[in-house]
Every structure is written in C-alpha cells, then in structure tokens.
C-alpha cells in the first residue's frame, strides 16, 4: 500500500500542505437523499455534511444505525479513497460504503503485499472482529506466489519481523524490576517511575564503566601480577627508592574492619586504589611475537573513554528531552490542552492515588489560572510594591549566598582541623582517628540534609510562581551539593599541590601523603559510604517511624510530624550526587564503579521503600517527559563539575613519586604526549594536519555555513506555519459564514415553499 508510506512521509514533512490538499482535492462521496433529509429536518446540522467531516460523521451514523460493520478508516484510507473517488463518484449508499473501505482485494499482486496489508490492519482503529474479517478477506483473495529471490527476500523479512517481535516480547518480560516499576506506576504515576528508570539507566552506565575498567586495567594486573619493587637499585634516582619505601611499609592487620570502612591499611594495598597499580609495560609472547601492554597508557585511555562515553550518553538522553521541550516550547500554548487531554494517568489503579491525581490535576488547573491572574497582577503592581518585592528577593538571595559561603567555609575548616588532629593522634586511638577521618564527609552530608530545608523555608517568602519555585529550589540545592564537593576538592588540593623537595618523596611542608592519589580515592570512598549510610538511616530509622506515626495516630500533631510526600527533586539530587562521586572517584579508585553498581541497586530498593511505604503521592504534577530531561540536564551539570578536577589532575598535578602507574612522570598528560610521540609517523602527521589551521579553519567555516542554512530553513518554516495558521482561521471563518448563509437561504426557501403550499392549499380549497 503505497498510500500508507506516502502518508507517513508527508505527515512529517508537510503536514499542513497535505491538510490543504485534502481539503481542496478530496471529493468525498455525497449522498443526495441524506443531504435532503438532514436539511429538511435541521438546517443547522449542515456542518456535519462538510467534506472534512463526511467520512467520520458518516461512519458514526452508520454505526449507530445498524450497530455493526463500518467505522472510521479515514486516516489510513483517505489517500486511497481519494485516489479512487476522483475517478469515480459514488452515488448510492452501498457504493459509498465500498469506496470508503480500503478496497484491498483489488490491489493484491502478490503474497508480499498481502502480508504487508495484514500488518497494516493492525494499525487501523477498528475492532477485532473487523480486523479478523479484513484479514481473512485478504488471505482468501487470490494472490500470486513470489518467485526465486523475491520469495527468499520476503520470507527473510517475515522471519526477521517475527523474530523481532519475539525478542521484544521476551525482553519486556525479562526486564529488570518490571513488577516493582508497575507497582510504583500504579501508586504514584509515570513521573515517579521515570525517576526509577533513571536509577536503572545509571546502573547500566556504571556496569559498563566497571566492565571496561575491569577488562583493561584490573584483569591485566591480576594476570601479570607484577612484583612490587623490592630493591632500590639506583641510588641517584629518588623515585625508585620512594616506591620501595612505600611498598615495603609494614601494614598492621589488626584493624580489619576499621580499615575496610576507611580504605586504609591493608585496603590501601589492593586493586581498589590507584596507588597499587604498576607502572610497568607488561611483556608477553604469542606465537613468537613479542607483545607489550602498557598499563599506564591503558589506565589513562580507559579513564578518558569512560568520561567520553558518559558524556555522549548524557547528551543523547538530554537531547531527547530537549526535542520534547522545543516541541512543547512552541506550544507553551498547549499547556491547558495537555492538562485536560493528557492529564490522566491511565496506569493508575489504586483508588487513593486516583483521588490524589484528581486533586493534583485540580491544583494544576487552579495553579495555571492563578498564574494567569498573577501575571495580570504583576502588570498592575504599583511601583512601590515592586521595589519592595525586589528588595526582599535580593535580601533573601544575599542570605542564601551567605549560607552557601558559610557551608564552604565550614567544610574547609572541618577538613583542615580534622586532618591536623588526626596527624597528632597516637597510634592506639583508632576509634578517634576513625571519627576524625569521617568528620569532613559527615559535615558535607549533614549540610546537604539541613541546608535545603532552610532554603525551602526562605523561598516561601519570595512569592515566586509555583513552577519557578521548584526550579529555583533545584538550582540552589544543586549549587549547594556541587559547591560542597568543590570545596572538599579544593581543601584536598592544598595538601597535594606542593612540590616535594629534591630529596623527598612527598612534600613535608604541606604534609602531603606519600601516595596522594590513594589519599584522594580514600576520601571519595568515605564520602560515598557516609552518603549511603545517611540514606539508609534517613529512610529506615527516621522516615519510617514517622510514616508509622502518621498512619497509626490520628492527632494533628503526629500527622504534622509524620506526613511526608515523595519529593522527587530531592531524590533525584541524591542519585545524581552519588553518580557524581562515581565519576570523580573512578580515576583515583578504579574499583569504585563496582561499588557504585552495588550501591545503586540497593538504592533502588531504598528509594522504593521510601516511595511506597514512607510517602504519600506528592501534590505536584510530575510529567514523565519533562522530568526525564530535567534529570539529564542536572546530570550534565554535575558531570562537568566532576570532570573539572579529574581533568586538572590529569593535566596539571604531579603524580606522587611513590606509587601508582604514573609515578615517574611530570604529569599524566605529559605521559600521554610522550606516548603519542612514539606512535608511527603517519598517525602523527595525520593528527597534525587535523589540528592545524589549514584544516580547522575551513571545517569551522563549513560548520558555520551549515548552521546558518538550518536556521534559515527553520525560520522560513516558522513563517510558513504562521501564514498557514492564519489562512486556516480565515477558511474557518469563511466556512462558518457560508454555512450560516446557506442555512438561512434554505430556511427562507422552506418558508417560501410552505407559504406556496399553503396558498396552493388555500387556492385548492377555494376552487373546491
């Protein structure tokens, strides 16, 4: 059916044009008898006889008359009926009927098209009985068998399609957590499910990262098992001796658990942290060829690939949402339609949720109307009020900036104090050392829990519109979380940035740890653990009893304390923060992604518990499409923040001399450039050309030209749409005008006829 294919294409490319075409060209079968009937009864119903509605109206009338057979095939078949009806005008009822049905039996040249048609029946909005009938029609109709290669091609297509369907079916059944997701969907709607799907997406991303790291970095280490340096053979070279010193330090094994939690002691000497990895180029022989595997090179390239893949994945996800946004943005106009026609979540099957949903839609409608009123009010606001409000907002924003700065200062202060105190500790005060070790992480997590509450309190004084409140809260909280991470990183930077003196392994002036990469890795590891522990504590120890209190007790006070809604933005931030730690940490602790996979899987259940057991549906609408793009955009911001320190470390900071795969190099990047210089000449030449002005400038110009071309096309299309819209409105007015005129005319005629009849009757009576 070529009509179907045409339709698809034109729908996308030139939907308007096609509409116009349909409007003018399509000569729908009209029915004189019926027309007359309707006009006699009610001239106002003339509108239902318009060609544009003829098909649908006709179908519904038919349907109501005999309760069976015809319904609307309009969409799928209009092109076909158009083609036919231009050649042959149907004049009686039966023929109309036939011409509107897709006359499938006529255009069956062979098996393949028949099969295609059967597949297309699936997309018709008709009932099962009719689909069956149409299918059997097609199957019973005579068709040619395909021959030779054609036959093979068709068979293959059919098999592939069937295979595809089967695979999809199986996959959808095997889908991870399908039941859990369904349950959440039923109770909280699709917006919240989007959040859980987001967790799932992150799990897959992390699994990918982990597999890459494991195969290319960890596995070679396990296979080749390089011996740690034992001899300090070159006295002049400090580096070698540093490594020997570091690896020969005795490790106390008596504090197993404490070390596990802090990542110190024995754990420091595992594949978990960067410091343990060798700087050797492994050699092995396969079939008499000498092969080399450079671990440092593998290490740095894997990290770069991981960051790149993450970036591409996020951008792809964000772009999808962005497209929706643009479509929606053009139709900011469509907010009410969306609300009413697409507002109901058909997946909901829980009564409470349904009542809640009704309330939510009500709130949203109210909110929209309210917002409109607010806009009006805003316009009418007096100058005095406006200045007052602006002053208030500036003041509150200042307070918030102060709070953020205060948080930064607090983190910095706690970090320096705790590391100093920890250095002064005696060896036997393990618990105290544990406490000091965790103090910065605890501070950060504590601030992340408390400060958003303060923000929430403050924002209520600013009198923003409800949608804007959500956004600004989100931005502020993201800012807080990322700022705390940056401060944390900066305070670490003060420790690791000092250049060690000639005869030192690590700078004693700054008290740089001997192996600072591992040191940073340990801190991130601790931060992740603390964060995770907080989620468990908050969900099970704090929020669970609260929800019990809410359910069991009827008193107002208990409900005030216990009631909690599923605050989507907060939970999203939790997850994104964890993922940021993962990106930040994978360079310093290559096995960290594995840990994050586990954490995320557990998080899924923790959040599910928080959602299903602890919370009630929120009274804010969460739209699946919108929230997903929101997740991705925040994730992108966090990714950039995580990327900066890692990039800086690779590019600028001198690796520690005692450990890690890069122990002999000035910076990690200098190692990369060194290895680049050892590649074959032609690769170097090629890359040189790519990066030279000779290539870059023309490429840039071409890109700009492309961009210009597409903006031009875009604006032209926009203009066209506007013109067509105006035209459509005009046509609509014309139509109404003509209809009114026509019905008036018919009425007059009827009156005239009546009068004539009456006068005729009078005359007859008179003559009689």
């Amino acid at each position: 059916m070529s009509g179907g294919a045409n339709r698809k294409k034109s729908n996308r490319a030139q939907g308007w044009e096609e509409a116009g075409f349909e409007f003018y060209q399509e000569s729908y079968p009209s029915n004189d008898v019926e027309l007359h009937d309707v006009l006699q009864k009610d001239p106002k119903h003339l509108a239902t006889l318009l060609p544009s509605k003829q098909n649908r109206a006709y179908a519904t009338i038919k349907m109501r008359q005999n309760g069976t057979s015809t319904r609307t095939y309009r969409r799928q078949t209009s092109s076909k009926s158009r083609r036919e009806s231009t050649t042959r005008r149907a004049s009686n009822n039966a023929e109309v009927h036939v011409s509107m049905l897709p006359d499938l039996s006529k255009s069956i040249p062979n098996e393949q098209t028949a099969w295609e048609q059967i597949m297309q029946i699936k997309e018709l909005p008709i009932s099962m009985t009719e689909k069956k009938r149409m299918k059997s029609d097609i199957q019973n109709a005579p068709n040619f068998r395909l021959q030779g290669y054609e036959q093979f091609k068709w068979k293959r297509r059919k098999a592939l399609r069937r295979f595809d369907q089967k695979i999809n079916e199986i996959l959808s059944k095997l889908e991870l957590w399908r039941k859990d997701l369904k349950k959440i969907e039923g109770n909280f709607g699709t917006g919240v499910v989007a959040f859980f799907l987001f967790i799932k997406w992150l799990i897959f991303l992390d699994i990918f990262i982990f597999v890459l790291i494991f195969l290319l970095i960890v596995l070679p280490m396990i296979i080749f098992d390089p011996a740690s340096p034992t001899e300090c053979y070159d006295v002049g070279n400090v580096t070698n001796c540093c490594a020997v010193d570091y690896f020969n330090q005795s490790i106390p094994y008596d504090t197993l658990v404490l070390d596990l939690v802090q990542g110190t002691g024995w754990m420091e000497r595992t594949l978990f942290f960067q410091g343990f990895y060798s700087n050797q180029v492994f050699q092995y022989t396969t079939q008499a060829f000498q092969n080399y595997y450079s671990l440092p090179l593998a290490y740095v390239s894997v990290i770069l690939v991981i960051l790149l893949v993450s970036l591409v994945a996020i951008v792809k996800g964000a772009a999808k949402g962005f497209k929706h946004r643009i479509i929606e943005g053009e139709g900011q106009f469509y907010q009410y339609c969306n609300l009413i026609f697409a507002g109901w979540d058909f997946c909901i099957h829980n009564e409470k949720a349904a009542i809640m949903k009704k309330k939510v839609i009500y709130n949203e409608v109210k909110g929209c109307l309210e917002a409109e009123k607010l806009e009006e009010e805003k316009k009418n606001r007096t100058k005095e009020e406006r200045t007052k409000l602006i002053a208030l907002r500036t003041f509150i924003n200042l307070i918030e900036i102060c709070i953020l700065l205060g948080c930064g200062a607090a983190i910095y202060f706690v970090f320096t104090i705790s590391s100093e105190l920890r250095n002064d500790l005696e060896d036997d005060e393990a618990l105290l050392s544990l406490f000091y070790g965790f103090l910065p992480s605890i501070t950060i997590v504590f601030l992340n829990v408390v400060v958003p509450l303060v923000f929430k309190f403050l924002v209520s004084y600013e009198r923003y519109s409800p949608n804007f409140v959500i956004n600004i809260m989100l931005i502020r909280t993201v800012f807080l979380r990322l700022a705390s991470l940056i401060i944390f990183y900066a305070s670490m930077y003060t420790v690791i940035s000092c250049q060690p003196k000639e005869d030192e392994c690590a700078s004693s002036e700054c008290k740089t740890p001997v192996c600072w990469e591992t040191f940073v890795g340990q801190h991130i590891y601790k931060l992740a653990l603390t964060d995770f522990a907080t989620h468990i504590l908050l969900t099970f120890v704090v929020n669970f009893p609260r929800s019990l209190l809410d359910k069991k007790s009827k008193s107002k006070f208990a409900q005030f304390i216990g009631e909690q809604t599923f605050d989507l933005p907060k939970h999203v931030l939790d997850i994104i923060y964890t993922q940021t730690l993962c990106w930040l940490g994978s360079f310093y602790a290559p096995m960290l992604p594995a840990m994050f996979v586990v954490i995320f899987v557990l998080m899924f259940y923790i959040k599910k518990f928080a959602c299903l057991v602890n919370s009630k549906p929120s009274n804010v609408i969460h739209r699946a499409s919108r929230s997903n793009s929101m997740f991705m955009i925040i994730l992108l911001v966090s990714f950039t923040v995580a990327l900066l320190p890692v990039a800086y470390t690779i590019g600028e900071i001198r690796p520690s001399t005692s450990c890690g795969p890069f122990r002999n190099f000035g910076t990690v990047w200098s190692f990369v450039t060194d290895s680049f210089l050892s590649t074959p000449q032609w690769i170097q030449n090629f890359l040189d050309i790519l990066t030279s002005a000779f290539f870059a400038v023309p490429a840039f110009i071409i890109l700009v030209l492309c961009l210009y071309y597409f903006t031009a096309v875009n604006s032209a299309n926009r203009h066209m749409v506007r013109i067509l819209k105006d035209q459509l409105v005009l046509e609509g007015h014309d139509k109404q005008f003509l209809l009114e005129r026509l019905s008036l005319f018919i009425k007059q005629q009827q009156d005239a006829q009546k009068q004539m009849r009456r006068s005729e009757g009078d005359r007859n009576a008179a003559s009689n």
Partner: protein, 159 residues
C-alpha cells in the same frame, strides 16, 4: 490464534465475573462488572471507555471488546489509534466534535469532587479553545485534536 497474552487477558476478564464467563465463549459482561477492572474502576472516564469499546454501544462488553480495549491501551498500539479512541472517549455527545459541552464534561470527570467555579470553568474552556481551535469555530474537530496529541509528549506515555 491463541497465545499467552490472550490467555492472560481472558483470565483477567474471567476474574471480573467468574460465574458468568465460565466456559461461555460469547459471554457478555454488564458495565458495572467491567468497571471492577482496577484501572477502569478508578478511571474518571471508565464508563465512557466501556461504551466506546462495547460493540453494542451500551457499555456491556464481550471478551472481544475487552481484547480491543487492552490492545488499544497497550504500549505497542500506535499513537494514531490511541488518538482516535481518545477522541471518541472525550466526545460525550457523539457529534464528532469536541464542543464546549464535551469539554465541560471532560473537565468535570477529570477533577472529580474538586469543583471549579462557573467563571473558572468558562475561563478554562476558553483557554483550551484558544490554544487548540485552529479554525476558530468554537469546537475541536478530530484533526485539531490529533494536532494537539501530536505535539503532546505525555500523551503516548499516559494513554
């Protein structure tokens, strides 16, 4: 052709009224039984949905009607089919246009017990028409409705 999903659907159908369905292939369930299906029970348009899909137009559904319903609401159904059925569901008076009366009923059902004032309702309907009524004739035709649905990214996910 029997397959697993059809059997599951039949089990669900049977669970609504086991005594009636039994082994009777052509059993017909009255609307109040149909409305016990959990998703329909809480759906504000449950009755309308039953009516649209019922082959006898009165809300009573045979198993085949039920299957039709399931297939339209399944994820695999194309958007055009969904739009077509959504339009029929919203078209309360069956005149093939969504007029102000239809819109009013849709909104009323959607909001349940939360009532809007008359002025707000007027305002809302006016806003909807302003957004979607391209040819300015005071009601939404199917083409206009489909246009909205095309632009709405949420529709495919929800309906």
């Amino acid at each position: 052709m029997l397959n697993i999903s059809a059997i599951i659907a039949h089990q669900k159908f049977k669970a609504l009224a086991p005594e009636k369905v039994g082994h009777n292939k052509n059993a017909k369930l009255p609307m109040n039984k149909m409305l016990q299906y959990p998703e329909l029970a809480v759906n504000p348009f449950g009755e309308r949905i039953c009516k649209v899909f019922s082959s006898s137009r009165d809300g009573d559904c045979t198993f085949e009607d039920f299957l039709d319903m399931m297939s339209v609401f399944s994820e695999a159904a194309p958007k055009s089919v969904k739009a077509e059925h959504a339009f029929r569901i919203f078209d309360f008076d069956g005149d093939d246009m969504l007029g102000t009366a239809d819109l009013k009923q849709v909104i009323d059902k959607l909001l349940g017990n939360n009532k809007l004032t008359e002025r707000e309702m007027q305002h809302l309907i006016q806003n909807i028409l302003e957004e979607a009524d391209l040819d300015d004739d005071g009601s939404l035709s199917f083409a206009e409705f489909e246009h909205i649905i095309d632009k709405s990214s949420d529709f495919a996910k929800y309906a």
